[in-house]
């Protein structure tokens, strides 16, 4: 379970996150939606302490993270995998080597690495491309390699920061399908940050709507009530838009 307690973050005079509290249950797919600058990426980056909160606590499975340092925080990060809008792969390494680096960092014994990497690549459907370089892959394939790298250490949580923003609709659907399978097959808690309502609607169970560095509202997507949620969320966006705060629905 991930809990944020009154976390705040400033960049100079800009208040990116203002006293946000949030609770995400184990095994759920949780969406965070908001316009550019709403603070959603900063919020998710505080969950693995890529950004240190100025105030408040980040608690994962009962352990407060923001006072941890050095080796312990690096260990924790290995169980909180992350994928980004840009795939952030090593362009000078093959697909296989890009995935194996996560195992090297986690000090997984050498003899186990090849099998784990291939298992992970098979899961995302790229085992045939293991010897290719990222420059030879499409945008969607690169993102799937990034996913393979993220799940190879069997993390408890997968943080997805705008994972489909630079992809076309078909590729977006493929990537979201992989993300959903990770949740279903391995029970990994998934947090997806997006500014696209379609992305959130298609995979998430609960959604946090953010504006101006604050949680505006939390919504549930019920199995039979997608439309209810759709109207609700769009209503929020419209209201925010009319107030001039939400510039990118």
């Amino acid at each position: 379970m991930i809990s944020l307690h009154n976390v705040s973050k400033r960049f100079g005079s800009f208040e990116a996150i203002r006293s946000v509290s949030l609770r995400i249950e184990s095994g759920e797919i949780h969406g965070i939606i908001g316009a550019s600058g709403a603070g959603k990426s900063t919020l998710v980056r505080m969950m693995n302490l890529i950004e240190q909160p100025d105030e408040g606590d980040v608690v994962i499975d009962g352990e407060t993270l923001n006072h941890l340092k050095g080796k312990r925080i690096r260990q924790i990060r290995q169980s909180l995998a992350m994928i980004f809008q840009g795939h952030h792969l090593l362009s000078n390494k093959t697909v296989f080597d890009n995935v194996v680096v996560a195992l090297q960092l986690a000090k997984v014994p050498k003899k186990l690495r090849a099998e784990k990497v291939m298992e992970s690549l098979r899961f995302v459907g790229l085992d045939q491309l293991k010897d290719q370089y990222p420059g030879q892959l499409s945008g969607g394939q690169k993102q799937r390699v990034a996913i393979a790298r993220a799940i190879v250490n069997q993390p408890k949580v997968l943080l997805c920061d705008e994972p489909t923003s630079s992809l076309d609709p078909n590729t977006t659907a493929e990537v979201l399908e992989v993300i959903q399978r990770i949740n279903q097959e391995f029970g990994v808690t998934i947090i997806i940050v997006s500014h696209e309502m379609e992305v959130i609607k298609s995979v998430c169970e609960r959604v946090t709507v953010m504006a101006d560095g604050q949680v505006y509202q939390e919504l549930e997507i019920e199995p039979t009530g997608v439309h209810k949620m759709e109207h609700s969320a769009e209503g929020i966006i419209k209201r925010l838009k009319s107030g001039g705060d939400f510039n990118h629905a």
Partner: protein, 220 residues
């Protein structure tokens, strides 16, 4: 082979050997000290992993001062230091001292600039995977910047060859010094031209090798 080169063959080989020693030590110093210094400079920059304005500014200033020195003056300025380290300020061994110092400053700056080309996202991904600073340097930064680092080393090596021609002032010898002493001072212009041609060929080979290697390891 032209007669003049045959006539001075043994001296030319000795000079090439001296250049090889001076440039070789410079490359070694650039790799073993210049690269870590450049990496540290990069990591101490604003917004980087080990951000430290005081350390960055101090190191940056030292590198800039060394690189600002006209090389001939640096060689002379360092004579007491060279004598302290080597025991003498004259000869090829003594010449390696100022050469290694300029090599460290020169390559550290080029290495720092090469690392600046590594996408910030790669570092971010490394941190999110739980990489330590050492892991980030060796498993991410150097991997992504390797072709730029090779090209920088190529540029540096060519500069070191150029710097080595000055080392005659402290009896360092070398092929450039040979061209000045035997070619220019003894009015053997033809000899000087042949030596220049040899140096141009060497530089072309180094440049070609550097570009070929950089291209081979660049998979972007």
């Amino acid at each position: 082979m032209p007669d003049v080169l045959l006539e001075y063959q043994s001296e030319i080989w000795v000079s090439i050997g001296e250049t090889f020693i001076m440039v070789g030590f410079s490359i070694l110093a650039a790799l073993l000290i210049g690269l870590p210094v450049g990496t540290f400079l990069f990591l101490c920059r604003k917004g980087q992993l080990l951000e430290n304005q005081l350390v960055f500014s101090s190191l940056n200033l030292i590198v800039n001062i060394i690189r600002s020195f006209p090389f001939l003056l640096l060689v002379i300025f360092l004579i007491p230091f060279t004598r302290f380290i080597i025991g003498t300020a004259i000869g090829t061994a003594a010449a390696t001292v100022p050469m290694t110092i300029i090599a460290i400053a020169h390559y550290s700056r080029l290495a720092e600039q090469s690392l600046l080309d590594v996408p910030k996202g790669v570092m971010e991904a490394a941190v999110s995977m739980g990489a330590s600073v050492k892991d980030i340097i060796f498993k991410f930064l150097y991997v992504e910047a390797r072709s730029a680092l090779v090209l920088s080393m190529t540029t540096s090596t060519i500069s070191f060859i150029s710097y080595s021609t000055i080392m005659g002032v402290v009896g360092g010898g070398g092929i450039g010094d040979f061209a000045i002493r035997y070619g220019y001072l003894q009015f053997r212009t033809d000899l000087m031209i042949y030596i220049i041609i040899i140096m141009v060929i060497c530089v072309q080979i180094i440049q070609y090798a550097g570009i070929t290697l950089a291209r081979k390891i660049d998979k972007r």
